[in-house]
Amino acid sequence: MSTGSAMRTLTYHEAVREALWQAMEADPAVFLMGEDIAAYGGVYKVTAGFVDRFGADRVIDTPIAENAIIGAATGAALVGMRPIAEIQFADFIACGLDPLVNMTSTIHYRWGQPVPLVVRAPAGATWASAGPFHSQSPEAWFAQIPGLKVVMPATPADAKGLLTAAIRDPNPVIVLEQKYLYRRLSGPVPEGEHVVPLGRAAVARPGRDATVVAWGSMAFKALEAARMLADGDGIDVEVVDLRTIVPWDRDAVLASVARTGRAVVVYEAHRTAGFGAEVAATIAEDGFADLDAPVVRLAGLDTPIPAHPVLEAAYLPDEHAIADALRRLVAY
């Protein structure tokens, strides 16, 4: 899936930029729209410099109007463009939810017209006091709506490869970029074209004793937990990074659980009715015979995401909490 694949080390943030840049270079139908994305380069500077290269017609600052951003991007997609709409923070998708879930997601089912639209949004908590309105992980909302694809890359290579796949997909794809990882995580990324197919999980670390299913920032935390357990406890954990939330890779998850017999599902969204409930329920139904222990969920609390670092830390699962859950599970 990669050509000209000389590897360099890039940050997650650089990898997102590279995917966007290459897509803009390759396809004149691709354009960007969003708040403060041109001269300002976006609040996370993902599109810094783009307007100088591609011009104000392809890097469009919009008014503060999430509903119209998503609605208009949908319209442009209907007539041959490949819009990439940025929502400044995933939390503000609530303001444009109606067009996404009622209009955009249903068009192909209702009248057969593809809608090649990407909605990018920085998502997730930051371990840095972003508070209740700049920390949310709304993937479960979208997973409940047929017709939308959802990806949550957890590595620089996937940030590039999944975004590239999203841009080429004929369907609306929501890319929840992990702002926690933007500048914190570096890794090898192929230089040329790099496409990670939607819908395939990655075994981020193979292991025998238990499976952790995670995505986004929690895949990163799960790997840390797995390293701690390997070093300190002699527990060999397999980490399955879901990568794509819709459509999700049931087969890979069930295959891993069949190998290990034990599963922890970790996500940073609120526990109740989070996407981890879907994963856990599926394992419990279709992997029942393989299970040596209950499927455990570890997630954000059922509270707004608090601002103060003491409270935010109490809200979020971290590597220690994941390791503890795994220790308990392996001892079950």
């Binding site: 109007a65 509903n67 609605g71 319209g75 997609a77 249903t106 068009i107 009248w111 017709g147």
Partner: protein, 320 residues
């Protein structure tokens, strides 16, 4: 380009076709032969017909649920309409959606949804694409006066104005939003009063005069095509039936209905054509006979079509 005599007769013909199709649909709905709820344009036919007729074939429409006439002008055949209303497998929505939610980009028709007025921002995006690609095409969208209370209206119209995209915004002010009169939807005299608030031209026309609607849309489309950005056109009309087929509309004062009945858009255009020597009783009789036959045949052809199969439910959620 002024309207030719042929154009003027065409406008009349499309309104008559719209009325005939909707009368037939109303009867079918009353007999339980349609899927979902029926909303019609009775009394408002001049707006969709006049508006769509002012466009070029490669322009795009994003109509509202009463715009039968727009579909007919764009070339949607009556049999397609009935098939859609009956939820037939071969219809635009294949039974997955219903009502006038026909979509077909080959004919430049954006398929609407029920949520108001969600085609509006979509039309703005279509127009944005035309502008970015420097194509001399326009998008036209329509919505009720009640739908103009929504945030989606404001965001989309404002964005269209700021980006100066080639979109024509047609408000069909028919006096009622379901049971809610305009004075409980907005505190101004008219929707067109909002145009200055967006920095765009606004014009109010008699929505029961198909040639007036046509002229206003033609002018707005020409301006849009020339880079002049959006225009808000408010068409004053009256909803002559209930909101949908199940609404008896007791809340509408009799006098309001009577006053507007005297201003029927079909009769108005027929009289105007006759006064200009372009129409007579013979033509009228021939037209009505022709439409009756066309509609009857369409209903029968649609009814003969296959219903969806249960397994169809699974197909098409995603494009491949």
């Amino acid at each position: 380009m002024p309207l030719t005599p042929d154009d003027r007769r065409q406008l009349y013909r499309f309104m008559c076709l719209s009325r005939a199709v909707e009368d037939a649909a109303w009867a079918l709905a009353g007999q339980g032969r349609l899927v979902g709820r029926l909303y019609t344009s009775h009394g408002q036919e001049a707006i969709p017909v006049g508006a769509a007729y002012a466009l070029r074939p490669d322009d795009v429409i994003a109509p509202m649920y009463r715009d039968m006439g727009m579909h007919l002008v764009r070339g949607v055949a009556p049999v397609e309409v009935f098939a859609q209303y009956m939820g037939k497998r071969g219809s635009s929505n294949a039974g997955k959606d219903s009502g006038l939610h026909i979509g077909d980009m080959a004919r430049g028709i954006v398929g609407m949804i029920s949520v108001l007025p969600d085609s509006l921002p979509v039309a703005v995006g279509v127009a944005l694409a035309f502008k970015l690609r420097r194509e001399p095409r326009v998008a036209l969208t329509s919505f009720g006066e009640g739908a103009a209370s929504t945030g989606a209206f404001h965001e989309a119209v404002n964005m269209a104005a700021v980006m100066k995209v080639p979109v024509v915004l047609v408000c069909e002010n028919n006096g009622w939003a379901l049971s809610t009169p305009p004075e409980r939807e907005f505190a101004t005299a008219a929707i067109v009063d909002r145009a200055p608030a967006y920095g765009i031209p606004g014009v109010q026309v008699d929505g029961n005069d198909v040639e007036a609607v046509h002229a206003a849309v033609a002018e707005a489309a020409a301006r849009a095509r020339a880079g002049g950005g959006p225009t808000l056109i408010e068409c004053l009309t009256m909803r002559m039936r209930g909101h949908s087929i199940i609404d008896p509309a007791d809340y509408v004062p009799r006098a309001q209905l009577d006053a507007w009945a005297a201003r029927d858009p079909l009769a108005g255009q027929r009289e105007r054509l006759a006064a200009a020597g372009l129409w007579d009783d013979a033509r009228e009789a021939a037209l009505q006979a022709e439409l009756r036959a066309e509609v009857d045949a369409a209903v029968h052809a649609a009814e003969a079509m296959e219903d969806p199969l249960p397994g169809d439910v699974h197909t098409g959620v995603f494009a491949a």
